[in-house]
Structure formats: structure tokens, C-alpha cells
């Protein structure tokens, strides 16, 4: 029998990772926009960032909110699935942040860097989505292992 962990604790940790990572990215983008970093093409920059973090963030926050409204019950998820989802989320958010922070040292313009980043962010985002899907599907009602 596989090791299992409490689903509520797992969801909250995932939510913290996503809220922290997305918060840093959003704050960075807000400051850059305020200082005119993207000029008249700020909407293009935001069009890159929002689909990059908001869908998964919305999923995580929605799951946590849903769980908070349920009657307390002991539910578990596969611990391996939880760890994969957690660390893939950390890696993905770190990759998005590094993409933003590395742009000034490259020869690429900000939007050109964003366009190019789809080469690596797209596949990783797909993996994160699958890992989170496995995390939620592996939920079982019962005691943690």
C-alpha cells in the first residue's frame, strides 16, 4: 500500500507555493509596468504572464476553498503524487521568474524573451497540470499512512 498524506495539508502547501510564486511574479510585472518597462506594449506583456500563472493558481485556490467548506473528514492523497505536484510547481514558478530576471543580461527584448520562453514553459506547464491532476484524483477518504 502506498504512503499517503493528508489532503488538506497538501492542498494548503500547494496553495502557499502558488500564491507566493505568482505573487512575486505579479508584483514584478506591476513595478515594471509602472516604470514604463514595456511602454505601449504593456498589454502584450500581461497577456503573457496571466495565462502562465492564473489558471493553475485559480485551480489550487478553488480546491482549497472547496475543501474549507466541506465537513471535516479524514482524506488522504498519495504522498508521491503530492511531492511530484509540489516540486514541479516550485520548478515551474522558478522557471518563470528566472525567465524574467535573465532578460536584462541577454540580447533579447522583453517581449522577444517572453515569446521565446514558450519553448520551455509550455512543456513544464503541461507536466504541472498532469501532476496536479494525479494529485487530486488520488484522493481517498481514510487515515493518513
Amino acid at each position: 500500500m502506498s504512503e499517503r498524506t493528508d489532503v488538506t495539508r497538501g492542498q494548503r502547501r500547494l496553495a502557499m507555493v502558488w500564491l507566493t510564486g505568482a505573487g512575486i511574479l505579479l508584483l514584478l510585472m506591476i513595478v515594471q509596468t509602472m516604470f514604463g518597462r514595456y511602454g505601449p506594449q504593456a498589454s502584450r506583456a500581461w497577456s503573457w504572464l496571466l495565462p502562465t500563472v492564473l489558471p493553475t493558481l485559480s485551480l489550487i485556490v478553488g480546491a482549497v476553498a472547496y475543501e474549507a467548506r466541506r465537513q471535516p473528514a479524514s482524506a488522504t492523497v498519495d504522498r508521491f503524487a503530492y511531492r511530484v505536484a509540489l516540486w514541479l510547481s516550485v520548478a515551474y514558478l522558478a522557471l518563470v521568474l528566472v525567465t524574467q530576471l535573465m532578460q536584462p543580461v541577454t540580447g533579447l527584448s522583453p517581449l522577444a524573451m517572453m515569446d521565446l520562453s514558450s519553448l520551455w514553459l509550455g512543456p513544464v506547464q503541461g507536466l504541472v497540470g498532469i501532476a496536479l491532476g494525479v494529485f487530486f484524483v488520488s484522493r481517498e477518504t481514510g487515515s493518513a499512512g
Binding site: F35, R37, P40, P104, G107, P110, A112
Partner: protein
């Protein structure tokens, strides 16, 4: 008897003495050719013919030249005809009371632009009027040095020398209209003050300053604008009016350097164009961020002469005759 013989013998001697001092009197004056078509970039030499009544050719006679319509074609004291505008006129050679005329025809504008010699040798700068510029500066009123008009080739060489002294070693040459030329200097990266930047010939802004933490943070949060300049020298006797419907782009300005010729052909170099002026057209482009397209600056912070000064081209004695 002896006196008669002496007189008879003296007559031939006297005749021989008088024949050595006989004056050749011009009887006829002619001009060659009698009718000719003259195009602006090819002055034509008229040749007078002076003969006696017996047909003896006389040389070294001072012939006076005049043109019935100097606005169509002018003629100098040596009989060199220069075409100025389309039309027809008569050039007259005068010697005392003798007159000879030649008909001079200057073809119209369409005929000039159809000239195979001109089209085959030179690409034309966008025209007939240049695209809207940022600012313009009239460098020289005419190309005249002293009393003699200057061939276009000398003006071309002078501008080329000034560009080289200013560190510009790449330019493109175009024909301009039917009797002028344009020299397009390479597009350069300048600061807001109009002075060339260290990365003068590069559009990139990365690597321009020392890479410190402060510089990194500046690049991370603040836009990196770019300002660029192209200087075009135009030598023409036509009035220069901008085509306001055609606004130059930075990409097109870069293309000007690629599409032009390296030098003036011989036909244009030897051309003397009275009344030609040298203009400096400045095209300035501003790019607010790295991703934005540079746009033409309509009202520059830097005036025309200051652009040339800060580019190292003015005051540059080499630009003036």
C-alpha cells in the same frame, strides 16, 4: 630706255614686298554644329569657323558668344553651352559684323529621365521629392568656387572626405532628379543630446554601459529607448520640398545604405550644374522601448546644424568649396 627697264624690274620686287604684308579679312563666319540637343549633364562645345573670301581658314579670331534665352541654355566666352531647362534657344557667334547661329534644344523632363546613360548608371533616391525629414540644413549656396562652376564630382569628393574625418566610412550614392546626387551616410545610434553613442553603429543597447547591479536593476525595471540618425547630403539645383505623404521609417533608412551605388559615374562627376545647392537632410528616429518600432521624430530636440556639429561634420571646412 634704261629708266623704263629699271621701273619694270622694280615692279615685281615691289609686288613681292606688298604681298608679304597683306591682311586676311574675315569674310564668313560659321558655327558647328548648327543644331544640337544638349542635356544638362553633358555641356557641349560650339566651334566657330572663320574664312576669308577665298576660303582660307582663319584661326585665333576673338569670337563673341551669346544666348537668346539664357534660362534655357547658357554659353560662356569660349563657346561652351550648358543646358539649364527644357526648351529651345539660339546661340549666336559674332565677329565684327559677321554673325552665325546654332539652334540649341534642351529636352523635357520625361525625356531626361528616360536617358539610358543616366538610368543605367545610378539608382535614384526616393523621389521625385525626398520623404519627410526631421530637419534640414542648407550647407552651401551653390557650388561655385570663384567665377567657375564646380563639377559635381568635386562636391562628391568633398562630402566623402568630411564623412571620413567624422568617422563615417560607409555611405551610399544615388542619383537625384536629372542633374544631382544624394549621399546617404550609415544610420548611427545617438543619445538624447545628439552625440553618437559608444555603440554608434549598433542598434543594441545591451553592453553599452558597465554591467553593475545598478545597471542590471535599471534594465530590469526601466525601458531602454533608442535614438538613431541618418544624414543624407543632397546636391541639386531644384527646390527641395519634402514629400509629407511619405514618412521615412528606420527600416527603410537602413535599406538606403544597401541599395545605393558606391560612387558617382563619370557622366555625373564631370557635370557642371550652375545654381546647385548642397542640403543636409537629417532623419532622426526614436524607439521608446526595445520592442517598439522606431518612429520618425518630427520635432527634434536638436536643430539641423547641431546634428551636423555633434556628428562631427560641421563646421568642417571640407564640406565647403
Amino acid at each position: 630706255m634704261r629708266a623704263s627697264v629699271m621701273i619694270l624690274c622694280a615692279l615685281p620686287v615691289a609686288a613681292l614686298a606688298c604681298g608679304g604684308e597683306r591682311v586676311m579679312v574675315p569674310a564668313t563666319l560659321s558655327v558647328y554644329p548648327t543644331a544640337v540637343t544638349v542635356i544638362p549633364w553633358q555641356p557641349r562645345q560650339m566651334v566657330p569657323g572663320v574664312r576669308t573670301a577665298e576660303g582660307t581658314v582663319l584661326s585665333g579670331r576673338a569670337v563673341t558668344w551669346s544666348s537668346a534665352n539664357p534660362e534655357v541654355a547658357a554659353v560662356d566666352s569660349n563657346g561652351l553651352v550648358i543646358a539649364l531647362s527644357s526648351g529651345e534657344t539660339t546661340v549666336t557667334a559674332s565677329l565684327d559684323t559677321l554673325r552665325a547661329e546654332a539652334t540649341i534644344t534642351v529636352p523635357g523632363q520625361t525625356q531626361l529621365s528616360d536617358n539610358p546613360i543616366f538610368l543605367a548608371s545610378m539608382p535614384q533616391f526616393p523621389g521625385p521629392q525626398p520623404p519627410q525629414w526631421t530637419t534640414r540644413f542648407l550647407l552651401a549656396e551653390g557650388l561655385v568656387t570663384g567665377a567657375q562652376p564646380e563639377p559635381l564630382g568635386e562636391a562628391f569628393d568633398r562630402i566623402g572626405d568630411a564623412l571620413r574625418r567624422a568617422g563615417v566610412f560607409e555611405w551610399a550614392t544615388y542619383g537625384f532628379g536629372d542633374s544631382g546626387f544624394a549621399m546617404v551616410a550609415r544610420l548611427e545610434h545617438i543619445g538624447d543630446d545628439g552625440f553618437p553613442l559608444e555603440s554608434r553603429w549598433s542598434a543594441a543597447t545591451v553592453g553599452e554601459r558597465a554591467f553593475t547591479l545598478q545597471e542590471y536593476l535599471r534594465r530590469l525595471f526601466v525601458a531602454q529607448p533608442g535614438r538613431y540618425r541618418v544624414i543624407v547630403f543632397v546636391v541639386t539645383h531644384h527646390p527641395l520640398v519634402a514629400d509629407t505623404a511619405a514618412q521615412a521609417t528606420e527600416r527603410a533608412a537602413r535599406g538606403w545604405l544597401q541599395a545605393g551605388a558606391a560612387a558617382l559615374p563619370a557622366e555625373l562627376r564631370s557635370l557642371v550644374v550652375p545654381g546647385a545647392r548642397t542640403h543636409a537632410l537629417v532623419y532622426e528616429f526614436f524607439r521608446p522601448t526595445e520592442d517598439a518600432e522606431p518612429v520618425l521624430v518630427v520635432e527634434s530636440r536638436t536643430q539641423g546644424p547641431h546634428h551636423l556639429i555633434r556628428a562631427g561634420l560641421w563646421p568642417e571646412a571640407a564640406l565647403l568649396p
